[in-house]
């Protein structure tokens, strides 16, 4: 046991002395969270729009007013005729033009309906979609308002839409759980695989093997410091998410940390596995980045929803630990779910963890090649 403690202490000293490792360990989570939190957003703000008002009555004026005060839009141009629409799109600044038909207010009162035409520049389909649905929402809101005031005749079925758990559709709420998965994968798997292959490369492993230190002590001793540091990172991300991005946390912290540690253990086992196959640090790094980080980012549902992937990829996504961890963490943070709802995902994650631990213990070589 003394030998084991000595090993862990040594490992901590090495991490602490390597500036590069320290920067990756503690700089990475902060940089990534800031990047994802501020720069990469799905919500639109200050998209430039134009208006072609052929009616110029009080209703259209009010609607235009509503559009222009929305944080999402910046009213940039008043057009006079249809020909100008294409012109402004070609200039590229304006992303959307809202057209109100002639006699808008009159028609609305008399016929109970009036047409608004929303034309978007779909060179960026994502943006076009979002801009369009925002416009729709603002107009619906307004119609609701005048209906309630009894100005217009109530028209047909009114859908009452409610977005639960993330009503503002803030993408940062969705990114934080994914980011936790990516960072944990990066630190746990990448760093351990590199640090174990470094021992091989530097010849330290040769001496360690010819010592009474049991192989599983070597592995656990290597892994424990990264387990602790990963937990520290989870806390860092949570604090940043809560106080800078106001991401809600509705579930139990205890349960959350239990699941995080389960995921960290899975990632560590993967790291050990990679190091038992890779002969040098470079191979270990490439394998971790291409083999772990990419699937974690692309196939876990972090950025692209799993449901919209082609079937083969959906099948593949099942063996990616991050997918299950993401489901779990999103549910805990946003819905406040407990083990009662998440036992299935937890069980799958635990199974993957055990499988990789078994595999990496089996693969660990007590001899040189």
């Amino acid at each position: 046991m003394n030998a084991f403690m000595g090993f862990v202490v040594k490992e901590f000293k090495q991490i602490y002395r390597d500036t590069r490792t320290l920067v990756v360990l503690f700089g990475m989570p902060i940089i990534m969270l800031t990047l994802f939190g501020f720069a990469i957003r799905n919500e639109v703000s200050n998209a430039k729009i134009g208006v072609l008002d052929l009616s110029k009555d009080e209703v259209t004026r009010e609607l235009i007013q509503k559009l222009s005060v929305s944080k999402a839009f910046e009213l940039n141009a008043y057009l006079d005729n249809y020909d100008q629409i294409e012109e402004v799109f070609k200039q590229g600044e304006i992303k959307e033009v809202v057209v109100f038909e002639n006699n808008f207010a009159n028609k609305l009162v008399k016929e109970g309906k009036a047409d608004v035409q929303v034309i978007t520049d779909a060179t960026d389909p994502n943006l076009a979609n979002i801009v369009q649905s925002y416009t729709g929402a603002i107009i619906r809101d307004y119609v609701q308002e005048i209906n309630d005031n009894g100005v217009a005749v109530k028209a047909g079925i009114q859908p009452s839409v409610q977005m639960m758990y993330n009503p503002e559709l803030k993408s940062v709420n969705l990114f934080v759980p994914g980011l936790i998965a990516v960072i944990l994968m990066l630190i746990s798997a990448l760093m351990t695989s590199i640090s174990i292959t470094r021992e091989k490369e530097m010849g330290n492993m040769e001496i360690l093997l010819v010592s009474p230190l049991k192989p599983h002590y070597i592995i656990i001793g290597k892994v424990i410091p990264y387990l602790l540091l990963s937990v520290v990172n989870v806390i860092t991300i949570l604090v940043l998410a809560k106080f800078i991005f106001n991401v809600p946390f509705n579930g139990s912290y205890g349960f959350f940390f239990f699941e995080s540690i389960l995921f960290i253990v899975t990632a560590l086992a993967l790291g050990v596995f990679i190091s038992s196959v890779a002969q040098n640090q470079q191979t270990a790094m490439m394998a971790s980045l291409a083999g772990l980080l990419l699937p974690t980012v692309l196939l876990s549902g972090f950025i692209f929803p799993v449901e919209s992937m082609p079937l083969p990829l959906q099948v593949v996504s099942n063996i990616i630990p991050a997918k299950w961890f993401l489901i779990i963490v999103r549910s805990i943070m946003l819905k406040g779910s407990g083990l009662l709802f998440l036992w299935k995902e937890t069980l799958i994650l635990a199974f993957i963890a055990l499988a990789f631990i078994a595999l990496s213990l089996k693969k660990f070589k007590v001899r040189l090649q």
Binding site: A3, N204, I207, V210
Partner: protein
């Protein structure tokens, strides 16, 4: 005397490369046994088999009376191993390395201080320096201290003096003699022929095979030809001229001298001198000399290497 290492008919290949070919030898308990041979002779592979890190393809290998394949777990704690490359943690200090290896072997520096003291006390002024910043000689002393910290029965040192200055090499061998007095069996390899005479027995190894095993004294006795040392300022021409001499048997540069044997055995030095004079190499210094292990080694090496 019991044998600490028993190797019989051991072969090992890596793919198509034969690293060891039917190697057999015994190391007695308490012996200082040396392997001498050039780089690529198979020394490191042999050490890795002795340390149970590699499995031989064929043959029997027993270390401390135990089989290297089946009993590797029992063998390893009793070995002190210094790989050919400096394998301590360069980012830990001298003292931290010592403490780490002591704890790994379930002991403390204090417990075995008496054994490592003569070596370690030289390092103590630098105990807070990182191992990576030590000089070559210091590194080797540290590695030896770490290999000794658990009082191993058998010390396996793979080229411990390669890349180390002459003074440190001398010191290092003095330490090995001292450890031998403590009763530790030592197997050491070296590419330096002059170190061979410091061992109790020496195995000459070249091209995956052991050429000869004996005590340094007996080895040099095995060299029966008359040997001459020839010196001339124009060393390069001297070599070529000697090689062209019709009676030349072997010509090898050894430092400032050329070691020369003649096909006629013992020769009259003036005859050779006349030949050299006729080639313009006047005032060459020719003397009869005692052979050392390197001379034997050169004569045992395969012929095609002789006249390079």
């Amino acid at each position: 005397m019991a044998s600490a290492v028993h190797i019989s008919q051991v072969s090992k290949s890596f793919g198509a490369v034969k690293a060891l070919r039917n190697i057999s030898f015994e190391v007695n308990e308490g012996e200082l046994f040396g392997f001498v041979g050039p780089d690529g002779a198979g020394k490191t592979t042999l050490f890795r088999i002795l340390t149970t890190l590699l499995i031989p393809d064929s043959g029997e290998a027993k270390v401390l009376g135990m089989d290297v394949i089946e009993d590797y777990k029992k063998i390893r704690p009793q070995l002190g191993y210094m790989p050919g490359r400096f394998s301590l943690y360069q980012d830990l200090s001298v003292e931290e390395n010592m403490k780490f290896f002591a704890s790994v072997f379930g002991t403390t520096i204090e417990q075995n201080y008496e054994l490592v003291k003569p070596i370690y006390h030289m390092l103590e002024p630098f105990k807070n320096r990182l191992a990576g910043q030590l000089s070559g000689g210091m590194k080797q002393k540290l590695a030896l201290s770490c290999a000794l910290i658990h009082k191993p029965k058998l010390l396996l040192l793979d080229e411990p003096t390669t890349g180390v200055d002459a003074v440190s090499r001398k010191e290092f061998w003095e330490m090995l003699r001292m450890l031998k007095e403590e009763g530790i069996t030592i197997v050491v390899s070296t590419p330096y022929m002059d170190e061979a005479k410091l061992c109790d027995r020496v195995a000459l190894i070249d091209k995956s095979e052991i050429l000869q095993i004996d005590s340094p004294g007996n080895l040099t006795k095995a060299f029966t030809k008359a040997l001459y040392g020839i010196k001339h300022p124009d060393k390069y021409r001297l070599i070529n001229v000697l090689k062209d001499y019709e009676f030349a048997d072997s010509v090898h540069p050894f430092g400032e001298f050329i070691h020369y044997t003649d096909r006629r055995g013992s020769i009259d030095e003036s005859g050779l001198n006349e030949y050299l004079d006729s080639k313009g190499l006047t005032e060459a210094n020719i003397q009869s000399i005692e052979p050392d292990i390197e001379d034997l080694f050169m004569s045992l090496m395969q012929p095609e290497e002789l006249h390079v």
